[in-house]
Amino acid sequence: MSRYTSLTDDDLREMLAVIGASSIDELFDAIPAALRLGRPLDLPEGLSEQEVFAHLSAMAARNVSAEDEITFLGAGMYDHYVPALIDSILSRSEFLTPYTPYQPEISQGGLQVMFEYQTAISELTGLPVSNASLYEGPSAVGAAAYLAKLANGRRDVVVSRGVHPHSRATLATLAPGYGQSVVETPLTDGATDLAALEAAIGPDTTAVIVQQPNFLGAIEDLEPVVAAAKAVGALVVCSCDPLPLALLKTPGELGVDVAVGEGQSLGNRLDYGGPSFGFFAASQEHIRRMPGRIAGETRDVDGRRGFVLTLQTREQHIRREKATSNICTAQVLNALAGVIYLSWLGKRGAVELAELMARRADYARRALGAVPGVRALHEQPIAREFALALDASVEAVVERCAAEGVNAGYPLGREYPEYADGLLVAITEQRSRADIDRLADALGRAVAAESRTGSLAGSRA
């Protein structure tokens, strides 16, 4: 008997007697003999709790985490500080262990959390309607393309190359099923090339998808993009980084139809890429095309305020093949971390944090741009992350820095052949000026050692 079950020999005997079966095996009689496995699974024997802990601890110790190095790695997920109260609240079994609130009378806590979360996302994005979470950022971009299909049914999704490569890859996977084609438009000077975008859109464009700040860290000027998309009757989808949104013009102010994004930076751990959550907000006209759960306020029979899952006729368990999405289980616990985090930051703190990151990122771009063999890849305004161009093999430089305990960032050449010399550097509030200066030193040595042109050879042997 495993430590998670309670069946004793006496229980077994008496339970079988009540069932009227002679053995457990008999309960599986419906399974044809040929389909019985007939042997133990080829898996190791079970272990005690302390052995499992030791085994998993040893595996975890073989990873180099943000605890073990000074990391400037971002590119979609960021090493932000997660306040202790999030761990405390999320570990409460009342949040951790229930499922989707199918019985609202005993799920008011979870439903109210969804309502508060939706409010926070609505405030950040400036859009009136938010759902209660999707899986993560890139699949939320895919979900936005599906909303566009439901809204206007046109063929082409036009997406800026400033959108996260994983979002674009996810779109490319989903588009054939949606009956859509994906058209990518290039970047110029680190930002979406407006002329190229305008040339790519037309009456067949279902939606234009951009990212703010874009993958290279540039804050895009979205007004002309929105105007161009609206001129051809296409929807505008903006994938947003939620923390800089405390400063930036909101999707709502810009006239964007759908704002989506990766929620990890809102109080969620890195967790090697998940679980985090994706957010999804839209203008009022799209409320009945939204994917996922939505909590709404109502009253009970005694007139008390309460919350329920609402507009469920959009959803798969009611609408089946006509649903606005197939999503069922999403990332509610991660969204709870998100709303606690935003409440912890608060109205002023959210702005202060965004300003601190913008100032440190500005300092870092200047300090690193002054390193010989290193320059800023673009001069667009930035919020937390920015791109450098190196006069050396980026992968080799990153390896050298790693040997010094500094993770210099993300080599852009992995996804952008046009930026083979690019390095993407993220500055969260956890990276101090001293950390940035240390990166400048490490980068200087590494670039000098790996210099392609030889113009930096002065520092080489």
Partner: protein, 506 residues
């Protein structure tokens, strides 16, 4: 003398975090500014900035903690009581799993860390893939999908790629009328049309109907086995034959895998593609609606199309440890379904579970799950209960069973929803209600293996008591619940005029 009491849960009006906000309060202290204090105007031009800051709450830490702790007490949860929600496998979530998931080497590992410096994570994922391959009987696994429905989408898109690669244009996907709603919704999102297959009187797939519909337009048959009636379809080999003869793939919705782990394998039944719900069979705290994970396992012929990145394992040089890597270069792959490598934190917990249980433990989990379900079913077949809540199909069940509340409604005047609401007053989370759709007033009960015999007996007693009470006065159940933080809520009003966020302060 009356004694006045008022616990926070009994207060007339619950407040939102926004209503607790007061200007000037705060919880967050930013780190000191250690770089030049440049005006924001110089960094981000005003025309790119928002007009006003977001109206987030202004509130100090103690009140945030009290607010959310207060809300938590308005939730029922698995750690507090029996949660026999059918098709959701609400088994115990071992506490160890939270500890290992929180280890810094897991929790603070960046998804773009170089594979050479994430060997522990990749090894864990590799081991989990191997274990899932063994449990499913299908050799190739991708952990990437984030939930069951995401795994379904992967499976149908893989089917699409498989047929397209062979130059075979197909337009239809078959799903039984007992299927989870995610199945037909997924089919539409993958660009196919749904065709329903009927259920035979014994609760399995109607073979005649299947034979009629399985033609060369059919891309796939999506099936759950045991199905949502809690029955193992004894004709599964014939179903597989008919499906494959039509050139279609056979997809296994793994929502009910908890019935057959180590006993029977979808791969051996003839399935081509399987999704697992790690949050069900491989225990994951359900988090109020996620996170979960929906890995898929596939046969050799589907493997070329699997999502990228794939995890690879190469033998170590000179007898060293094996080297794990991520590989994107798979020309026939359908691509990505999400960012990064999937819900790794979920993988850690499920891997810990498999390590704890081992081969014998997984089998035993399924055996006890089926035993517990049959025991509870037997208890509910007592003469004071069974006439009102008959078993919808069959005699026994696998890990869950479906009762019909139709006679209860007719004879006692209470509906399944009334029974469910009254169960709340007895301290239980009700079973799944009104699913599957083909059973009138359905009640889908899944006790799982981690419940004690006593819990099942007490639950059966509660059902009996509610029916007995309803025979006396149906209004009691019709107006239930009475003991919960709120009573029945006006869902129609919520949908008519949706209030989906806190109104902005004026």
């Amino acid at each position: 003398m009356t004694i006045a009491t008022q616990t926070p849960q009994q207060r007339e009006e619950i407040l939102t975090i926004y209503e607790r906000s007061r200007p000037g309060r705060r919880a967050f202290t930013p780190p000191a500014l250690d770089v030049p204090d440049r005006p924001i105007d110089e960094l981000i031009p005003a025309r790119l900035r928002r007009a006003a800051p977001p109206e987030l709450p202004e509130i100090a830490e103690p009140e945030i903690v009290r607010h959310y702790n207060g809300l938590s007490k308005r939730n029922f949860d698995l750690d507090s009581g029996f949660y026999p929600l059918g098709s959701c496998t609400m088994k115990h979530n071992p506490k160890l799993h939270e500890r290992v998931a929180a280890l810094p080497g897991n929790a603070r590992l960046h998804p773009f860390q170089a594979p050479a410096r994430a060997q522990g994570a990749l090894e864990l994922m590799w081991n989990l893939e191997r274990a899932l391959a063994e449990v499913s009987g299908l050799p190739h696994v991708s952990l990437q999908p984030s939930a069951g429905s995401h795994g379904e989408l992967a499976g149908v898109l893989l089917t699409r790629a498989y047929h397209a690669d062979r130059g075979d244009q197909r337009t239809l996907v078959l799903t039984p009328d007992t299927a989870h709603g995610t199945n037909p919704a997924t089919v539409t999102m993958a660009g196919y049309e749904v065709v329903k297959v009927g259920t035979s009187p014994d609760g399995g797939v109607d073979l005649e109907d299947l034979r009629r519909k399985a033609d060369d337009r059919v891309a796939c048959l999506m099936l759950t086995n045991p199905n949502t009636l809690g029955l193992f379809d004894p004709n599964i080999e014939e179903i597989a034959r008919v499906t494959h003869d039509a050139g279609a793939t056979l997809y296994y919705d793994g929502a009910n895998l908890n019935a057959v782990m180590g006993i029977s394998r979808p791969g051996d039944m003839g399935f081509d593609i399987v999704h697992f719900n790690l949050h069900k069979s491989f225990t994951q705290p359900h988090g109020g609606g996620g996170p979960g994970a929906g890995p898929i396992a596939v046969s050799d012929r589907i493997e070329p199309y699997l999502m990228v990145p794939r995890i690879t394992c190469a033998e170590g040089a000179g007898g060293g440890p094996p080297r794990f890597d991520l590989e994107d270069d798979r020309p026939k792959s359908i691509g990505r379904l999400r960012g990064f490598q999937g819900n790794y934190g979920v993988f850690v917990r499920s891997y810990a579970y498999i390590c704890s249980l081992g081969a014998a433990g997984l089998r035993e989990a399924s055996e006890i799950a089926v035993l517990n379900a049959n025991y509870l079913l037997a208890l509910l077949r007592r003469p004071e209960i069974a006439p009102y809540l008959p078993l919808a199909y069959g005699e026994r069940c696998m890990h869950e069973f479906v009762l019909s509340g139709a006679p209860m409604k007719r004879d006692l005047g209470i509906r399944t929803t009334d029974l469910a609401k009254r169960l709340l007053d007895f301290g239980y989370h009700p079973p799944t209600v009104y699913f599957p759709l083909l059973v009138e007033e359905a009640l889908l009960v899944e006790p799982t293996e981690t419940e004690t015999r006593e819990t099942l007996e007490e639950f059966a007693e509660a059902i009996g008591a509610i029916l007995c009470e309803a025979a006396e006065d149906p209004a009691i159940a019709q107006n239930a619940p009475y003991s919960t933080p709120v009573r029945r809520l006006d869902e129609a009003a919520a949908a008519r005029t949706p209030v989906v966020r806190q109104p902005r302060p004026t």
